[in-house]
Amino acid sequence: MTHNNHRMRSQQSASRRFFTAVACSLCVLLSPLSLAEALNYETRSVSFAMRQEPPDLNAMTSTDTTSGFILDHIMEGLLTYDPKGNLVGGVAERWELHDDRAIFWLREDARWSDGSAITAHDFVFAWRKVVEPATASEYAFILFPITNAQAINEGELDSSELGVRALDDRTLEVSLHQPTPYFLSLTAFRTTYPAKQSFVESKGQRYAADATDMLYNGPFTLTEWVHGASVAMEKNPYYWNRDNIWLNRIDVPYITEDANARMNLYRDHKIAVADELVSESLDGALQERMQIKTFLDGAIFFIEFNYRPDYPTRSLYLRKAIQSVFNTDDLVYKVLGNPGSYPAYTIYPRWMKGAEDLFVREHPPHKPDLNVEKAKGYLEQARQELGVDELPPLTLLADDSPNGQKTAEYLQTLLTQSLGLDIRVDVQIFKQRLAKMTAGDFDMVVSGWGPDYNDLLTYGDLFASYNLNNRGRYNSEEFDHWVSVAQSSLDTDARMQAFAKLQELMFDNVIMVPLYERGKIYVQHPRLHGVLRRAVGGDPNFNFSTIEPPADQ
């Protein structure tokens, strides 16, 4: 018995020692964790959480906004945007835009991150590469205003025929096959960023695959890229405008698609901006006195119709009936309930500029006259127009995103109850929704559109008969005519008139029914300033951010 007791006691003290050791090692392991922080005034660094790993940091082929966020910190085009969103010189210090050509004079002090000068040849190389069919760049169309670009892209000409040449190391001449009033805004877009031939070719397939496989010319350079885990950018000592860049470091220590997780990281003071929140993640934010911010991200959502023969939606009166019962306010405020989203009456976002003022202020869109009785009359006319006694069931295609599904269910209820239509909702994953749209396998789609460049045309030409994104195959000569005026007129007023005409046609012919303008919700550290939120280009942007010193200093 005594023997046993003794053994148990020694066991006890052994286990106590063991636990002490474990506890100590835990403390050692855990202690360095408190070092990560949302922002630091002393080191001039800020932390952020991304939604996903950047899929493609090769500017020549990149199409997605996540990569765009990184690229717009580490690269720069001929032109760029100032903090107010105005086009200003980037690599180019001076430029001229004519009917048939554009000339850019490059800065003497524009440098790559290896210290070498950026030359006009770097643009010639990159742009040729973008339009070469073998590159398979999905955004090659950005360069189509340039002479021969489209023919090269379609494999008819060699890329050396592209209308761009280096007059000398610092002068770039671009020939345009038709007047392109918005060409300058294209030169701030990532597809037109330069690339150094010797570097790109030395990397081969590995180009842009890792932080060491890229050359940078933007305000920051990519210094760390742990795939799926973290990204870090540091101030580029060779950037020509480095004196106006205050931040030293942009840290992205977290990558998660979970909005709640991003919000929790913000609450734990680990990140300075929690972006793309959802209403659910805002629970308690107001009690904690957080300032919830919103901004319109440029995405417009609308009902797209199928105009192929044999589809009932080709009937104008059917579309008019739908237009006459749909209330965008109800959808935005009662159904979706996302702070920051706005009702929509036109394809053009409310923040886009017109001739002098905002476009929608210069050319206010029509608001539909909501009237169920009138809608029923239209429906009767639609039946006559289509020559049927009873309208067939209509397929409403939507993707499986929360907003897509909510919108589709709301439209189904609305159109069934007010018009007695038989609506079949077809919910698909995003890629399958696109595949079905391209195949024309729908009557109506809950569709969306985001801008590619900073000009009304990126929205205005959407329903041009030749536009591949016009998946409902709307086809009207009148519409195409006004698109061509908007495309090539160098007179701003005439262009704006053309855009207004397109807006009117979209309303009168109910080419589509605007649903809502999407807003992004975010919270931001009160001491962080100068974070740019933009619909076009990488978002958010910290290039011009500053940090206020802490209150106790």
């Binding site: 392991l29 855990l30 360095p32 964790l33 408190s34 990560a36 959480a49 790993e53 899929p55 493609d56 940091l57 090769n58 082929t61 990149s62 199409t63 069919p133 073998a134 590159t135 398979a136 760049s137 999905e138 955004y139 090659a140 169309f141 379609e154 494999g155 397939q205 590995r206 180009y207 842009a208 695959a209 742990v226 795939h227 799926g228 885990a229 220590p253 977290y254 990558i255 998660t256 698609e257 979970d258 709640n260 997780a261 929790n264 990281l265 609450r267 734990d268 680990k270 698909q428 994953i429 890629k431 399958q432 696109l434 595949a435 391209t438 969306g448 985001g450 591949l468 994104n469 998946r471």
Partner: protein, 312 residues
């Protein structure tokens, strides 16, 4: 023994081939276009992209190319991570899932055995009821709820302490793993607890226990030497599949805690129809599962001499 392992490895290869083929057929049968993007693509661009990924060839030929490359251990380049090889994705992200999975498994196994043994010892008394009640909750509540609660829990503790005891998300140190591993192992732990309880109860009434008691062996020794060792066998049986389930099933946990594991790629590849990543991760996980089951079969022999494999 060697003969047994070789036999099993060969049948494992057939299994992997079958998994690969079934996935390949399923993947191509699922509607949707892997190359589709929000912006429409010119036919010429599409043709070039198809050529890059070999989608321009007949499906049967694609299958042949895939099998040949698979034998060479090359799964190609991801559709969504444009410049990354699938091999790199697996190589960089599986270790993360594995470390997390092993920790989760340790928590699950130790917890399962301890709780299970406790419930059996205190059968029909309050510790049994309490633990079994918790087990039912852990089995029936989906893991994303625990993940979110776990994160909110850390947040609350950090706030209360005034400093970060544990990180709410991220990866890099032991502190990052603790709560995610606990959440990840929770349902397995619950499952093992139930298993352990029933097999403990079975053993308790066995003849050799009564004999041991009659011989005056101390209860502690009976528990360790006779009950536990015999009762743990069914637990080991399910350990193989459990390892695979834990290392592959971390998607939600990886998402909530921003952990760069392979589970996220595995699930997102399916959502985005990333053909090469789907094939690569499925075949890899298939092979992993086959290996784990084999490993467990070999382990049996060490725990229970009666079923040492390969001996006649």
């Amino acid at each position: 023994m060697t003969e047994f392992i070789i036999k099993r490895l060969l049948s494992g290869l057939v299994t992997i081939w079958f998994i690969a083929t079934a996935t390949f057929i399923g993947m191509h049968a699922v509607p949707g276009d892997p190359l589709a993007n929000a912006k429409a693509m010119k036919p010429e661009i599409r043709k070039n992209l198809e050529a890059r990924y070999g989608l321009d060839k007949p499906v049967l030929q694609q299958y042949g190319i895939f099998l040949t490359n698979m034998l060479k251990g090359d799964f190609g380049i991801s559709f969504t991570q444009k410049n990354r090889r699938v091999n790199d994705i697996i190589r960089e992200h599986f270790p993360v899932s594995a470390v997390l999975g092993v920790l989760a498994l340790i928590i699950a196994t130790v917890g399962g055995v301890v709780w299970g043994a406790l419930t059996a010892i205190y059968r029909d008394r309050w510790p049994d009821s309490v633990i079994m009640f918790l087990v039912v909750i852990a089995v029936s509540v989906p893991s994303f709820v625990f993940a979110m609660l776990g994160q909110l829990g850390i947040l609350g503790v950090n706030k209360w302490l005034g400093f970060s005891l544990l990180p709410v998300a991220g990866w890099g140190s032991f502190g990052h793993m603790l709560v995610p591993a606990l959440v990840l192992g929770l349902s397995t732990m619950a499952f093992l607890t139930r298993l352990m309880r029933s097999s403990m109860l079975e053993v308790t009434n066995a003849d050799y226990i009564r004999t041991a008691k009659a011989k005056g062996v101390s209860p502690l020794r009976i528990f360790y030497k006779h009950q536990l060792r015999n009762a743990i066998l069914p637990v080991v049986t399910v350990l193989g599949p459990a390892i695979a389930a834990i290392t592959t099933g971390g998607f939600v946990v990886e998402l909530v805690f921003a952990i760069p594991g392979l589970g996220r790629y595995f699930v997102q590849a399916v959502q985005q129809l990333d053909y090469t990543v789907i094939m690569g991760t499925t075949v890899f996980y298939g092979a992993f599962l086959v290996l784990m089951v084999l490993l467990v079969d070999i382990l049996y022999g060490f725990i229970d001499p009666r079923i040492r494999v390969g001996k006649h």
